[in-house]
């Protein structure tokens, strides 16, 4: 148990992986290049676009460190940070859909998000996976007890989708922290997913014409999707080579598949939130992050990527397999 707890709070090796340092240089470079590029292009931008770009930039300056520092510091802070992000996303979703009015269902989703974090900290893979079916069982059972069949399917489905997307889906990012190599893996996923958004935006502006999903997201174009697919896959495969050097994933084809999953998953996640917002008739999930909207508007692309990449990497390499599982619960003989 001591060894397991020590692992969770180890921060001395935070920057020891070369890929981690490369990612940090890239992020720092982006933060220096972005305002310069904006200044260079500002003559071509309308007053409104310029203001919007700057608001987004200042918000990025706050949220990037707020996410990166806990993720990089130690495994425990990474898991807690992911749980906090899940909770914030869930809160926005519950408020927007009205699920928050059903307090017992809402409380079960919130408690399950906490349990996802606890099983991740515990390195108890079996229970981490079992939480998904168990939560759905408990949600359905609790909803029955309220004895109000009107709107039953809607209520239960809303709660199940919430847990699947934010608790289970996003929670996979937290479980990755059980791997000693987790820092570059999480950076690979998070940086690629955000770049994917930027690539899609830039390529769409440059050579986007044909609209692919006019009902869901009228600003998205075939050119944007294809450009992001090529550029993100190339980036993720290239950086993946650094991250997974010497493992079974370090073959060109495996890395390209990883890159494709990140790019396609990221774009689908974006469209997924787009569909939810269209259905609800809202533009942003909240107004918490100036220029971006809510937390969910920023993390939407990671929702589907997290479990998809988790299982590809898990299948090829696994997460922390050499560590003793069940850091805390093993002591209780459970």
């Amino acid at each position: 148990m001591k060894e397991g707890i020590d692992y969770l709070f180890t921060y001395s090796n935070a920057l020891s992986h070369p890929a981690t340092r490369v990612f940090l240089y890239l992020i720092a470079g982006a933060f220096i290049a972005a305002p310069l590029a904006t200044l260079a292009l500002s003559a071509k931008m309308s007053e409104k676009t310029r203001k919007d770009v700057w608001t987004r930039y200042w918000t990025w300056l706050v949220i990037a460190p707020a996410l990166l520092v806990p993720v990089l510091f130690c495994p425990a802070t990474a898991i807690v940070a992911v749980a906090v992000a899940s909770m914030l996303c869930y809160r926005e979703y519950a408020r927007a859909t009205g699920l928050f009015r059903f307090r017992s269902l809402s409380a079960i989703v919130a408690i399950s998000i906490v349990l996802v974090a606890l099983t991740s900290l515990d390195h108890w893979y079996g229970m981490f996976m079992a939480l998904t079916p168990l939560t759905i069982v408990i949600l359905a059972a609790t909803a029955v007890l309220a004895d109000s069949p009107q709107g039953f399917i809607q209520r239960v489905s809303l709660a199940c989708v919430a847990f699947l997307l934010f608790g289970s889906g996003l929670g996979h990012l937290g479980y990755i922290a059980n791997d000693p190599n987790y820092r570059p893996i999480l950076l690979l996923i998070l940086v690629s997913v955000q770049l994917n958004d930027i690539f899609a935006y830039v390529c769409g502006k440059a050579f986007g014409r044909r609209k692919l999903f006019p009902n869901t997201s009228p600003n998205k174009t075939l050119g944007g999707h294809m450009g992001a697919l090529v550029l993100t896959t190339a980036f993720a495969a290239g950086m993946g080579h650094l991250v997974f050097e010497g493992t079974k994933l370090d073959t060109p084809w495996a890395l390209i598949v990883l890159g494709l999953i990140i790019s396609i998953g990221g774009q689908l996640g974006d469209l997924l939130l787009g569909s939810i917002k269209r259905d609800l008739g809202i533009k942003d999930m909240a107004a918490t992050l100036p220029g971006h909207g809510g937390f969910l508007d920023r993390l939407n692309s990671a929702l589907l990527v997290a479990p998809a990449t988790f299982h590809l990497i898990g299948y090829a390499i696994g997460f922390g397999l050499e560590r003793t599982p069940r850091v805390f619960t093993a002591a209780f003989g459970m």
């Binding site: 809160r91 928050f100 809402s106 409380a107 942003d284 909240a286 107004a287």
Partner: protein
């Protein structure tokens, strides 16, 4: 889209998990305090509403009044109940708004200027069954312990609806915590709960509103004249 801080001041605010648990904890603490320090006594507890919507009204003598009425309620009704508080005092700045909304579940009513749309929001809230209200139809605390005439605003919320109005008489808050005193004194507080009134057949017009105010005032004056049991 509302800024995070604005939400606490909205009259359409709905409590989520965080504020419900904060509120449940805070009112539990208040209940213990009132029982021990003010030896709170509840008469006519069988008249207390068990489910929303409802409106609890009482004579207004001190800042303790809303706390007394809320803590008399059973837990399930308590977490759904919103004391209607003076916006100009309790929602003056961000910090007080946060405390008032998170711990007391209070809703603001601004006494100066136009408040009719705020009353419409409150009417909408009770008629759609989204909560109970605690309010003081005198509009302000009594400065000498005697009850002032009721304002017609209450009528604008309930006239023509089936929402029950629960009249309560508070005895003791003036001795415990009058307007000019900073810290409450350990005087006994008694709350006498009367039978609910319904104003389904009163017209939602000035005439109906004054009738509602008059009948409510009479009900509480009647409760005040009951000999303590």
């Amino acid at each position: 889209m509302m800024k995070p801080g604005e939400r606490f001041r909205s009259t359409r605010r709905e409590a989520g998990l965080i504020s419900v648990s904060m509120n449940a904890a805070a009112t539990l603490g208040v209940r213990v305090y009132l029982r021990l320090y003010h030896r709170l006594r509840i008469e006519g507890a069988e008249n207390l509403p068990r489910r929303v919507p409802f409106i609890m009204i009482a004579n207004h003598e001190s800042h303790l009044d809303a706390l007394v009425l809320v803590s008399a309620l059973p837990l399930k009704a308590r977490i759904e109940t919103h004391p209607v508080a003076a916006g100009d005092v309790f929602f003056k700045n961000g910090a007080t708004s946060l405390l008032a909304s998170l711990f007391l579940n209070a809703l603001p009513l601004y006494r100066k200027g136009v408040t009719s749309h705020a009353l419409v929001d409150l009417r909408e809230r009770v008629t759609s069954g989204r909560g109970g209200l605690v309010l003081f139809p005198e509009g302000t605390r009594s400065r000498d312990g005697t009850m002032n005439p009721f304002k017609a605003g209450l009528g604008m919320i309930v006239a023509g609806t089936s929402v029950p109005v629960v009249p309560c008489y508070l005895d003791g808050p003036f001795e415990a915590c009058p307007a000019n005193v900073k810290l409450p004194r350990p005087a006994r507080i008694t709350v006498r709960v009367g039978t609910p009134l319904v104003f389904e057949h009163e017209p939602n017009s000035r005439e109906g509103w004054t009738t509602v105010a008059r009948r409510c005032e009479e009900a509480i004056r009647a409760l005040a004249s009951v000999q303590p049991g």
